[in-house]
C-alpha cells in the first residue's frame, strides 16, 4: 500500500526538527520509528505532506537513573527499554516494553512515538499513568514539562503544540516497598490489546498505600479508576478487596464494541485483569520475583 505522497526532510537534531516544524507549518509531522505512523499513513488516516525524520539524530536514545528519576530519551526503542537492567527495576516499565507487539516492532518503535500517537489502545500511556511520569517537550520558543496526565488529552490527541517535539520521558522511581504490574489481554502479539491494566501500589506491612489503577483500550484515553483505588487504600488486600477493585474497574471501563469483543466482554476482561495485576504487584511489593506476561486468547 502506498501512503499519500510527502516531502522528506531529515533532521540532524531534535532542535532542528522543532525548527523545521515551525518553518513548514501545517502538514508537517515527525517521523521516529514509524511503527504507529506508517500504518496510519498506509490507511490514509494520516496524510502529512511533509515528514521530518528524527531517526538519524544522535543522543535521543538513552535510559538513565538520576536520583529518584528514570530519564528515557524519546527515541529509545521498546527493545532497548525491555533489555535495560536500569529500566527493569520499575516492573511496570519492563512489563510494558517487553509486551509491546513483537520483536520487529519493538526494535523500531519508540516510547516518544507511542506517546505522541496517543492511540487509546497504545501501551505506554496506560502503563506510565500508574506511575508518576512527565513528558519534556522542546520547541523553538523554549521547553516545558507536562505531567503525562495533562499531555494525553483524548484519542489520538495530545497537548503537543504544532512546533513541539517530545525530547524526554521522566518517570519517578517508586518508593521502596512498592510493586507494580502491567497486563493485557491480546488476540495475538502484533495486535493492539483487547483490554489492559496497569497497577502500582506500596505496602506498609500488609497495608496498601498509594494504589494507582489505570485501564487502557476501554475508553478514548486511559482511565484512572478512583473507585478501585479507594477499595484498596489503607487496608490489607484480601479476596474481598480484590473483588471490590474488580467490580469498580468493570463499572469504570467505558469500552466500545468492536472486532476485539463486545463492550460487556471488555468490561469483564478488565475486571479480571486488575485482579491478576494486583496479585503480581503485591508479590513484587513484598520483594518476590513475579514473572508476568500478557494473556493471549
Amino acid at each position: 500500500m502506498y501512503t499519500a505522497a510527502f516531502e522528506y526532510h531529515r533532521a540532524s537534531s531534535l532542535e532542528e526538527a522543532a525548527t523545521m516544524l515551525s518553518q513548514i507549518g501545517e502538514g508537517a509531522k515527525i517521523l521516529a520509528g514509524g511503527q504507529s505512523l506508517i500504518p496510519l499513513m498506509k490507511l490514509r488516516l494520516a496524510a502529512p505532506s511533509h515528514l521530518i525524520d528524527i531517526g538519524f539524530t544522535s543522543g535521543g536514545s538513552y535510559i538513565r537513573e538520576e536520583g529518584r528519576l528514570l530519564r528515557l530519551g524519546a527515541l529509545t526503542s521498546h527493545a532497548e527499554i525491555e533489555l535495560s537492567p536500569v529500566a527493569q527495576r520499575i516492573a511496570i516499565v519492563h512489563d510494558c516494553a517487553a509486551g509491546i507487539a513483537d520483536v520487529q516492532v519493538r526494535n523500531r518503535g519508540t516510547i516518544g512515538g507511542s506517546l505522541a500517537e496517543a492511540d487509546p489502545s497504545g501501551d505506554w500511556a496506560t502503563a506510565l499513568l500508574a506511575l508518576s511520569a512527565e513528558v519534556h517537550l522542546i520547541s523553538p520558543a523554549g521547553e516545558r514539562t507536562l505531567a503525562l496526565d495533562d499531555f494525553i488529552k483524548d484519542a489520538y490527541t495530545t497537548a503537543l503544540r504544532s512546533n513541539e517535539v517530545i525530547a524526554e520521558i521522566r518517570v519517578h522511581v517508586p518508593d521502596a516497598g512498592s510493586g507494580g504490574a502491567y497486563i493485557c489481554l491480546k488476540r495475538a502479539a502484533p495486535v493492539y490489546a483487547t483490554a489492559s491494566v496497569a497497577v502500582e501500589l506500596k505496602l506498609e506491612g500488609n497495608v496498601c498505600r498509594q494504589p494507582a489503577i489505570v485501564l487502557g483500550c476501554v475508553g478514548l484515553r486511559p482511565i484512572r479508576v478512583d473507585g478501585a483505588e479507594a477499595a484498596l487504600r489503607g487496608r490489607e488486600i484480601d479476596d474481598v478487596a480484590l473483588e471490590a477493585a474488580g467490580e469498580a474497574v468493570r463499572v469504570a471501563a467505558d469500552p466500545e464494541s468492536d472486532m476485539r469483543g463486545s463492550a460487556e466482554y471488555k468490561r469483564t476482561v478488565a475486571g479480571a485483569l486488575v485482579k491478576r495485576a494486583l496479585r503480581a504487584a503485591l508479590g513484587r511489593a513484598r520483594g518476590e520475583i513475579v514473572e508476568t506476561s500478557h494473556l493471549y486468547a
Binding site: Y8, G34, Q35, I38, P39, L51, D53, N107, V191
Partner: protein
Amino acid sequence: MPDEPAPVTLKLKVNGKPCALTVEPRRLLVELLREDLDLTGTHVGCDSSYCGACTVLMNGRAVKSCTMFGVQADGAEIVTVEGLEKDGQLGPIQTAFAEAYGLQCGYCTPGLLLSALQLLGSNPKPQESEIRKAIAGNTCRCTGYQNVLKAIRLAAEHMAKG
C-alpha cells in the same frame, strides 16, 4: 503539497553488497528490495505490520520491511533471505527448516528465518519460551508452528557445532 516530492538518494548494504538508489520517499523498504534490487525472497503478506513475512535484518535486528520507508534505512546493513546462503550452500537455519519440515507453503519462511537469525545471533541456546517470543511477530498459516519450533531448536544445535 507539491505534485512530485523530491526523490531521495540513499545508500544501503544489502547482503554485504553496497548499492545506491534514488527513490520517492513514500516507497517502502520491502518495495525497494523486491522491485529495485530484484530480491523477491522477501515477501509481502498482510502489508499492515502484522504477519512478519517481510521481516529482514537491519543492522542485525529484525524489522518489518513493509513498515519502514526505504529512506529510513539509509546507511544501514540489510540482510534478506538471499543473504543466508554461502557459496550456493544453504545456511544452518535454512538447513534446519528443511530437515525439520519447518515449512509447508513457504510463504512466511523468509521472515521466520530472519527472526530466528536475530534470536540465535544473540542467544545461541534459547529456551522454548524465548523461541516462541522471538517468532511471535511471524504468522504461519500452514505448520501450526510445532515444526518451526523444532527447526529453530535444531538450528541452534547445528550452529553450536559450527
